[in-house]
Structure formats: C-alpha cells, structure tokens
Symmetry: C2
Subunit: 120 residues, 2 copies
C-alpha cells in the first residue's frame, strides 16, 4: 500500500490549485497517464483531459475551495473519501462529495468516481 | 441507464440466499461472467468465485441478513449504496457496508468494492 493520505491530500490540492502550470504538475503527480474521472456533472480522460476539466470547474465555481472531510478509507488498491466544498474564507459547506478511487501500482490514481450530495 | 434499484435489490438478495442453486442463479443475474468483488475481508473473481465467497461468508456469519439502507445513488455506469447487517429477526445493526459498483452494458455488475464500517 502506497501513502494514501498523501495521495488524497495532493488530489484535493489539485482541485484547489489556481495556477495552471502548478495544477498540471499536480494532475501528473496524482493521476496516471490513462487516468479518468467521472461524476454526475463532468468527466475527464487522460491527464490533459482531467486538467482541462478541473480548470473548467474552477471557472464555474470561483471563490470556493475543497477540503478533505475525515480520513481516507482504503484497502487493496481502492480508496474512498469525502470532501466538502466551502467558500474561500468561510466555513459554510456548499456541497459534499463522496469520491471512490482505484490506485495504480505506481501509487497514482487510475480512476476516480465522484458522487455528489446536496449540503443540508 | 438500466434498472439500478432492481439490480441492487437482487445483489442484496444474493448475499441473503441460503439455497446454493438459487444463490448461484442470482450471482449470474447480478454479476457479469468476469465480475469481481473485493472488500477488506474477502475477494471473489468470476461468477463461481463470487458464489464461493458468498457461501463462505454465510457460513462465517450465520443467522444474519443484509438490508439495503436508503436508495442506491447512481450516474453513468457507477453506483453506490449502503447496507446494514442485522441478526435474522432483529433490528440491531451489527455492521455497515458502503459498496461501490461499476455496471456493465448488459445491466449486471462488473465490479463491486465494499468498504466496512463498525456499527456504533
């Protein structure tokens, strides 16, 4: 088992990284070349596809940040974790996500599936 | 999108089916030929492997039943749902599982990953 907490911290940081060059570097650190992402609102395939998808999400929801909620839960090559979307500088939870991932042998994410939950 | 609630009902029924012939029929209805299952305690590959794994689990935890908790949540070819393990005839929740599945084009499960949570 690789260092799952570090991987998921880097994954969350990727979604929060506004600088295009640093974001693309983080995508390459957290996703395999053939990595993929799918949730109810968007999909991305390959590192460039995932980077473009995250850039689009950042433009669509400006002024917000993702925070890991609790610890990642993992076994074998699988991981699940929950995140909260909050306004920058605030603690209101705007949206909740439950992400499920498959980790490749090199310790990067091969696929992530996101499920969204309306904040109460 | 196929009928996800029916699929997940059949999946739960498979885990509860004590008759070997009916259980094997349910496995074939709910999993593809190359289907796989993995959770922290056990793994099964292919319909025969999954059937043997469930038979073993039933022997290990006799006198219990699985119940779906809430509605399955699904998008694209992905589904997640939660189940409770209870003693037959009782309502105490002994264990909680969070299952994540990938659905094949024919509407059966191609892979299921289970995560376990200790009941409070």
């Amino acid at each position: 088992m690789h260092n799952i907490p570090s991987l998921i911290d880097a994954y969350i940081a990727t979604w929060n990284e506004g600088d295009p060059e640093r974001r693309r570097t983080l995508v390459a650190r957290t996703f395999t070349e053939d990595g993929s992402y799918v949730d109810p609102l968007m999909t991305g395939a390959g590192q460039d596809g995932i980077d473009a998808m995250i850039a689009g999400a950042q433009q669509q929801f400006p002024g917000h940040r993702f925070e890991l909620a609790g610890e990642p839960d993992s076994h074998h090559d699988r991981v699940r974790f929950t995140w909260h979307l909050k306004p920058v500088g605030g603690e209101d939870v705007v949206a909740i996500g439950h992400d499920f991932g498959v980790v490749a042998e090199d310790g990067r994410l091969r696929s992530v599936t996101g499920f969204l939950e309306q904040a109460a």
